[in-house]
Subunit: 222 residues, 2 copies
């Protein structure tokens, strides 16, 4: 089945980065289709891409008859349909804590710092570059401060683990690594987040995470 | 088991509203604990609530040993642990389309219009009330335009259905109804969204949705 998978994404999109990690962890081959988010006013607004996702956001995964947007829906699809290397842990309560932490990143940090939001702030709210960077830092620090505390509690309750919530990479790590990549890109000081930093360092030693890195995509800096 | 459920929420929180609908659809009794998001600088920032969710956002569900934040994680927990009245459809591809559409609302519209974001816009970006209302309208129109188109395609592909994607209420409806409530509260013109409007009207005739309405909560306008 994996021969049929196509991922429409962009090298620097955090949401596409998440899906790349998931596909790699499950050793699923896929064809990568670049949707350049800036060139020509944003290729995600083209009629062709609109057909794939009327929301005009990346990523979209196509797998045979399945055509799916939203990175967390795609990850749940892949995890349920390709059960090798499980991404969403099974046992309760860790299963739901993992989903909640992944959503803490994907719903409370990332949507606020998305390209279209920064474009709106500049266009409609007269925000300059410094205002935008402050905005980005603010929501990342809000989110990471809470997440660092949750990861600390998790270790007090269940003992140490290599990755965010378990000793194998989970949906939390899949969301965390692109978010930290984004934080570093905008110069966020990570010294207050030692567990987050250690988890991301552990992830970034794995071939699945290395192959998914923005710089290692064909469309990087195109 | 349902005697043990406590929901920490706020009458006007969209995310808490989602969980109330889900609990009602599954006929699960629960104790409601109000966390006033405005009074005393926001009770979600109290030390007591911080212990429940370091992110200082509502809702939190407590069910025996489970203590969980993030409305979509809570909904998946309830759906998997209390299988009556399924909320996330089983058959693929509708299952994943439903998750994606729910996330289109919960990740691309709602986080941008959350109270803390509006407070930041006012405090740091000198946005006045009109700027904030324009901001709210913008993201709702972006999201609803895409969603209306997706619901149209869904009907072309699978035939008409009463609710968003099926003939029984699903996770999409659970996210859509609070988002439309919010849109109407801020005076968004809904005439371009006939399917969304019809779906929400159908939902709001069901006792589970009526009982979950903000105005029907004990802490309404407290």
């Amino acid at each position: 089945m994996s021969e049929n998978i196509t991922l429409y994404g962009y090298w620097r999109s955090s949401a596409a980065y998440r899906v790349r990690i998931c596909l790699n962890l499950k050793a699923l081959g896929y064809e990568s289709q670049s949707v350049h988010l800036v060139r020509n006013g944003g290729e995600q607004h083209s009629a062709e891409y609109h057909e794939l996702n009327a929301s005009e956001l990346v990523p979209v995964l196509v797998d045979g008859d399945i055509q799916l947007n939203q990175s967390l829906a795609i990850i749940q699809y892949l995890d349920e349909q390709y059960p090798q290397a499980p991404i969403i842990p099974e046992p309760s309560p860790i299963r739901y804590q993992a989903l909640a932490m992944a959503q803490d990143i994907a719903m409370e940090i990332h949507p606020l710092n998305n390209l279209r939001v920064l474009q709106y702030l500049e266009r409609e709210c007269s925000c300059n570059q410094q205002n935008k960077v402050e905005w980005i830092h603010h929501w990342i620090h809000e989110g990471f401060t809470a997440l660092e505390e949750k990861l600390t509690h998790h270790r007090q309750q269940y003992g140490n683990c290599i990755y965010s919530v378990t000793d194998s990479p989970s949906v939390v790590d899949i969301c965390l690594v692109p978010q930290v990549y984004n934080a570093l890109r905008f110069g966020v000081d990570m010294t207050s987040y030692p567990i987050i930093t250690a988890v991301v360092e552990a992830c970034n030693q794995l071939p699945a995470f290395i192959a998914a890195m923005p710089e290692n995509q064909e469309d990087a800096k195109s």
